[in-house]
């Protein structure tokens, strides 16, 4: 990462709050960007804003994680066009209550948060092995550290993503390609806006700066903001016979 200029980074789920802020940090650092998402109009607005503010190349590409075949084709094209880094920031909280009774909702949560991102990274892993440079950032969640009745579909998917990234990190180690797992706590985005029970909510900009710092320091897993590491340590250490009785 000594020469970031003109290197192109693919951001998947680019209209999400964290992705938008991270894209701005990457653009400011001089990376070119390929923004992927479903909402073409919104992607173009974000792209144009980054071009004007940071004078970098920004392209957009349509990608719907619910359309795996098309998404993988897009990934292949991106890889062929040269790709230095990839950020997976797509996320779908879903509705736990609905997912409890409606398997299509549950599968959608699993697919967007885990299956589709893993499939894409699968496709890109070979590319990174061959190039032997660049980086992979996967945005998980502290919700993936322990299953709780209020959001375990989302948590299970994010937990699976973290496990996948762990394996991928192991695989890409010889190629010298770092894989960063990001575990944000509550971030002030559309996903958390107006939800009850939010506390210690971080701004997307702070989280984005934290991600970039962790990337430069070649960290493996980063909790953002940092204190979530300790909060989750405590939550993980509650014995199961106690935890299962809690209303969380």
């Amino acid at each position: 990462m000594s020469e970031p200029k003109l290197q192109r980074v693919l951001v998947i789920g680019a209209t999400s709050g964290i992705a938008r802020a991270l894209s701005a940090v990457l653009a400011e650092a001089g990376y070119g960007l390929m923004l992927a998402g479903r909402d073409a109009g919104e992607l173009e607005r974000i792209a144009q804003d980054l071009r004007l503010r940071h004078a970098v190349d920004v392209e957009t590409v349509n990608m719907d994680l619910d359309e795996p075949r098309h998404s993988l084709l897009v990934i292949d094209t991106c890889a062929q066009g040269g790709l230095y880094g990839v950020v997976i920031a797509a996320g779908y909280l879903g509705e736990q209550a609905r997912a409890n009774t409606d398997e299509s909702e549950m599968l959608r949560v699993l697919n967007i948060n885990y299956a589709a991102p893993a499939a894409m990274l699968n496709r890109l892993a070979r590319h990174f092995e061959q190039t032997g440079e660049g980086f992979i950032i996967g945005v998980g969640s502290v919700a993936g550290d322990r299953g709780r009745q209020s959001n375990y579909h989302y948590g299970a998917a994010k937990g699976a993503l973290a496990l996948y990234l762990q394996g991928l990190r192991n695989r890409l180690q010889p190629a010298g390609v770092p894989v960063l797992t990001v575990k944000p706590g509550f971030v002030d985005t559309a996903m958390t806006w107006g939800l009850p029970g939010m506390f210690l909510v971080a701004s997307p900009e702070d989280v984005a700066r934290g991600i970039y710092r962790a990337l430069r320091r070649r960290r493996n897993v980063v909790y953002l903001p940092w204190f979530w590491r300790w909060i989750m340590l405590i939550i993980r250490s509650v014995p199961e016979f106690v935890f299962k009785r809690l209303k969380l």
């Binding site: 709050g17 909402d39 109009g41 974000i46 144009q48 004007l52 559309a190 806006w193 107006g194």
Partner: protein, 448 residues
């Protein structure tokens, strides 16, 4: 629309209420919900209740703030309404572009600037904000997305410019920036030992410059009443700068924030009187100098949360304009009211307006405008404001709605004679009256 309930107030922190608030993150989400009361809100820098909507939902524009296009030939900027002047300055000032008109803080959005049709220190030459807007997109409660220009839809254009957000949500704006050669201002100070002298200086065309504003010591009495310093300026040409002033250097960034509310009694007559006297002498000593434009235009922006200066209970800023012919008498009468109450105001700003705006509810009219802080808690401030408003009405002037929290419906109607015309257009754009603010409810905007 996901909403949450939070405590909300204007910049003066009076009034303050709990409101439903939504914050769209996508452009498609930035639209009024047709079947409930709505109001757009940017940075919340209007002072009173103009950006509150107690029985509806306040739609925050802070995440819909993308720059969309810029033509480096013409200076035409196309951006979403949630973009702040700070955003624009950060990106375009180093490239040699500046705002055509700017209020005294850069932490305001384009949408807010248009809705309040803000003015700057160059009003007598450049007019108000809307004079530099070429077009905007208006999202109406009937679900329309209108591309509005002064040519294709003058009614919607001039009802929205200065319309306090009550015609619809402003979505995008096309604004013409001005080219500058440097980020420095060539500033000159002139001292007037009383109001008559100050008026003489301000009316003197040979002293005039692109920007001009006067600061008044409103505690000075007797034959010193209304003494002040006229500060004129223009953008410094690149050739005129000496070596230590690089054309687009950043100013020293000392951003400090007031960490807590100052105790109410700290700013009393005595302390402000002393401050004013020192300030007067210091400013009077300065003759001609270079000042970075961020300092010149936004002196208070370097103190975050400066509204805490007046304590928790909040304050009101009162700004009015008095037409040219009555201005000297009117301003004297206003100063007398302030002195009668023994109010210590840090900021008494006097400025000359040029031709009035075309917006039906735009504030500026040819004459002199005076802005003072009323550093007492809300209701008490309103009693003083009532006396000030009576003086304003008597002299044929009007009060700035973006700062108001106290005006009465009949006073508003007397001050804004084009209101019936505006109301016709409001009813076409928003037939069910869903765009609504606490200011609008207080002034019975929507009723004849």
């Amino acid at each position: 629309m996901q909403t949450k309930r939070i405590e909300l107030s204007g910049w003066g922190r009076f009034p303050s209420t709990r409101q439903e608030v939504a914050r769209p993150e996508r452009y498609a989400g930035l639209r009024p919900a047709g079947n409930m009361f709505n109001l757009g809100r940017g940075m919340g820098r209007s002072y009173g209740d103009a950006a509150l909507c107690n029985d509806g939902v306040v739609i925050l524009t802070e995440r819909v703030n993308r720059l969309l296009d810029f033509d480096a030939e013409t200076g035409l900027l196309h951006a979403e309404a949630g973009v702040t002047l700070e955003d624009i300055l950060r990106v375009f000032l180093p490239r040699g572009w500046f705002l055509p008109v700017t209020p005294g803080t850069r932490y305001v959005t384009l949408g807010g600037c248009l809705a309040s049709d803000v003015h700057g220190k160059n009003h007598h030459h450049a007019g108000s904000f809307s004079n530099h807007v070429e077009a905007f997109e208006l999202l109406t409660t009937t679900g329309e997305r209108l591309h509005v220009t002064p040519e294709n839809n003058p009614e919607a254009f001039w009802a929205t410019a200065g319309g306090m957000g009550l015609t619809g949500m402003i979505g995008e704006i096309w604004l013409k920036l001005q080219r500058i050669e440097s980020a420095w201002m060539q500033v000159r100070h002139y001292t007037g030992e009383n109001l008559d002298a100050l008026f003489g200086l301000m009316a003197d065309d040979t002293l005039d410059d692109d920007y001009s504003v006067a600061w008044i010591d409103c505690l000075a009495r007797g034959d010193q009443m209304g003494r002040g310093v006229l500060m004129t300026a223009h953008h410094a040409a690149a050739w005129s700068l000496d070596k230590k002033h690089k054309p687009f250097a950043q100013p020293g960034r000392v951003q400090r924030a007031l960490p807590f509310d100052l105790p109410g009694g700290l700013l009393n007559r005595l302390s402000v009187s002393a401050f004013n006297a020192i300030y007067y002498r210091r400013q009077a000593r300065r003759d001609e100098y270079h000042d970075h434009l961020l300092h010149y235009f936004y002196p208070l922006d370097s103190i975050g949360h400066w509204n805490r200066m007046y304590g928790r209970r909040g304050f009101i800023q009162h700004q009015c304009v008095i037409p040219e012919d009555n201005a000297l008498d009117g301003i004297k009468a206003l100063l007398s009211v302030l002195q009668h109450y023994g109010l210590a105001s840090f900021l008494a700003v006097l400025k000359r307006f040029g031709a009035g705006g075309s917006g039906h509810l735009s504030f500026p009219m040819p004459g002199y405008t005076l802005a003072v802080d009323l550093p007492i808690s809300g209701d008490a401030a309103c009693r003083v404001a009532a006396d000030l408003n009576a003086v304003v009405l008597e002299h044929g002037g009007r009060v700035y709605l973006a700062k108001d929290a106290c005006l009465a419906p009949d006073e508003f109607r007397a001050m804004y004679p084009r209101y019936p015309e505006w109301l016709d257009i409001k009813r076409q754009l928003d037939p069910d009256g869903y765009m609504r603010s606490d200011l609008g409810v207080r002034l019975r905007i929507g009723e004849p």
